[in-house]
């Protein structure tokens, strides 16, 4: 492959890409903070009053403590997915920012790592906004639990960023992203256990649900964040699934980007 292929990635160069995105985002921090805080507020208000009134306890938790960890995952998933698809596509294809970067010592792998870690950062930012809102609203069962859940959320955000990059690497136009949101993001919102337990769905929906990384993420984050007993073996299984999916997605995305950029 070309020069961008065979150099061992160096953190400094990925960080330069991460910092580029952070520099741009700094100007938008006000609106970004507002939407990231308002979104979960609206959700919690609506679901807290709406469903919380009908549902007493779910899975051994009151509904608020059940739904806040789910929303922490959802916020990370949505923000990381959006950034790694729509925003990366703009820089890769529309603005040609990637072409400019690839003419510098930054390699494709470093560029992708920078973009991926930035998307994960935005996911974590959104997730932390939910934690802040959840704390005020009274949906945080255990603060130590939430602290312990953070590294797991990082892995989840990385996984969503990597899977998003696969779609971006194959995208020929903006249209593909509407399919991405309909067939990937929305199912993870509805079927992965954010608002109800996965076991409420018929078996074939459950099969699909366990393919989605979000289901595995919630399965780990919820008990940890709520301070409930954790099944070590199942937890390990979920984490391995997330890590494996992230690695495979990154590899696939890299292969496709490389062919498109240097072919």
């Amino acid at each position: 492959m070309s020069a961008s292929g065979d150099t061992i990635p160096v953190n400094r160069y990925s960080r330069a890409v991460w910092r580029r995105n952070a520099t741009v985002w700094r100007k938008l921090i006000g609106p970004s903070l507002a939407t990231n805080v308002l979104d979960p507020l609206i959700f919690l208000f609506a679901f807290g009053y709406g469903l919380g009134a009908v549902i007493d306890r779910v899975g051994g938790l009151n509904y608020l403590s059940f739904v806040v960890p789910g929303m922490m995952c959802y916020a990370a998933m949505f923000a990381a997915s959006f950034e790694s698809t729509v925003s990366v596509y703009a820089r890769f294809h529309m603005q040609r920012t990637w072409d400019a970067i690839l003419a510098t010592p930054v390699t494709l792998t470093e560029l992708m790592l920078g973009e991926m870690s930035w998307a994960a950062t935005k996911g974590m930012f959104a997730s932390c906004c939910v934690i802040a809102v959840g704390t005020i609203w009274g949906g945080i069962g255990s603060f130590w639990g939430v602290a312990a859940a953070l590294p797991v959320l990082v892995l989840g955000a990385v996984c969503f960023a990597c899977t998003g990059l696969v779609v971006t690497a194959h995208a020929q136009s903006w249209d593909v992203f509407s399919y991405f949101f309909t067939f990937w993001v929305t199912p993870m919102f509805m079927f992965s256990g954010t608002f109800f337990e996965v076991t409420r769905f018929p078996w074939f929906v459950q099969v699909i649900a366990w393919v989605l990384p979000m289901t595995h993420l919630i399965a780990v984050v919820r008990p940890v964040a709520a301070g409930l007993p954790v099944d070590p073996l199942a937890t390990a299984g979920h984490l391995v699934y997330l890590a494996a999916l992230a690695s495979a997605a990154f590899w696939l995305a890299r292969r496709r980007f490389s062919a498109r950029l240097f072919g």
Binding site: S2, A3, D6, T7, A16, R20, T23, T104, P105, T107
Partner: protein
């Protein structure tokens, strides 16, 4: 090339280079060398293969066949070290639209791994050099075409490269903007930088380049210093006579080239042609330039290649 010290390593050496994109044979066996401290122009119409050659030199495209070396090594073997020594001015505007003029340079400097302290000192100097000092805080969108071009050149200089590759640096700019860029490129040459530029402007090539490589259809047609090329392929003067030609014009012994609505005659002294014309005939006489060389070599004008 002639008269250069033979022990010097060429900055770029290309040998029998080929590139195919599926059915399209974009580059068909190109060879040339570029020596340190020289300015070399790749001249050819749109679609001649200039950009593809540059992309292969930058290791942004993989050659289908042939050999290519940069600073004496294969670009793929050099990897990052090579990129640190080369500044690229691409043909299309890929400035970062989300950043200000100053930030475009600072962020780009970080891609080269340059520390903030060094950039804080270097960025204002580069902006001054390209006469953009007053626009440092402006957004890229607010810049004119000429300013954008200057900013792209400043960006390519951020890591003080030894080799600067410029893909059509002045295409689409007004005369003043072009002159300013030419002046800066001349400054860089004086500093001892090696420049490789593509252009389809004759005056640009003639003015800036020590050597010119004429390319068409993915092949090198000829190369050499501009003056040599003119001497080799055409005469000192060109007499252009519009059609219809005067009846009974004696063309014996004249070199001619039919360009559609007129015929060009090449002569070392224009009188060789004009004495054959009837007194009322209209014609224009000018010094031969690279355009004529190109016309002679390819049989078609430079700008119609598209």
């Amino acid at each position: 090339m002639e008269g250069k010290v033979s022990t010097a390593t060429p900055v770029i050496a290309v040998e029998a280079l080929e590139k195919r994109y599926g059915e399209v044979h974009a580059v068909r066996g190109v060879s040339f060398s570029i020596w340190p401290g020289t300015c070399v122009g790749l001249l050819g119409p749109n679609g001649a293969g200039k950009t593809t050659i540059m992309r292969m030199i930058m290791a942004l495209a993989q050659p289908t066949a042939g050999r290519l070396s940069l600073f004496g090594q294969a670009p793929s073997a050099l990897g990052r070290t090579m990129r640190e020594r080369v500044g690229l001015v691409p043909q299309e505007d890929n400035l970062d639209p989300d950043l200000s003029v100053r930030q475009n340079l600072e962020v780009y400097g970080r891609y080269f791994g340059r520390p903030s302290l060094e950039l804080a000192e270097r960025v204002p100097r580069l902006l001054e050099f390209m006469q953009l000092g007053e626009r440092a805080g402006a957004q890229v969108m607010q810049l004119s075409g000429g300013m954008k071009r200057r900013l792209i050149i400043a960006r390519a200089l951020i890591a003080d490269p030894e080799l600067i590759i410029l893909d059509e640096p002045t295409t689409g700019l007004d005369p003043q903007a072009r002159v300013l860029i030419w002046r800066r490129l001349t400054d860089l040459k004086r500093e001892g930088k090696t420049l490789l530029l593509t252009t389809h402007y004759m005056d640009e090539a003639q003015r800036l380049c020590d050597r010119i490589i004429i390319i068409d259809g993915g092949k090198v047609l000829d190369e050499g210093p501009p003056r040599d090329l003119i001497d080799r392929h055409t005469r000192a003067y060109v007499v252009e006579i519009p059609k219809p030609l005067p009846t009974g014009l004696d063309e014996a012994g004249l070199e001619r080239n039919d360009i559609g609505d007129a015929v060009l005659y090449y002569a070392n002294d224009p009188v060789e042609v004009t004495r054959r014309l009837p007194p009322q005939a209209t014609y224009t006489t000018r010094l031969a330039n690279l355009e004529d060389v190109f016309l002679r070599l390819t049989g078609h004008g430079l700008r119609e290649g598209g």
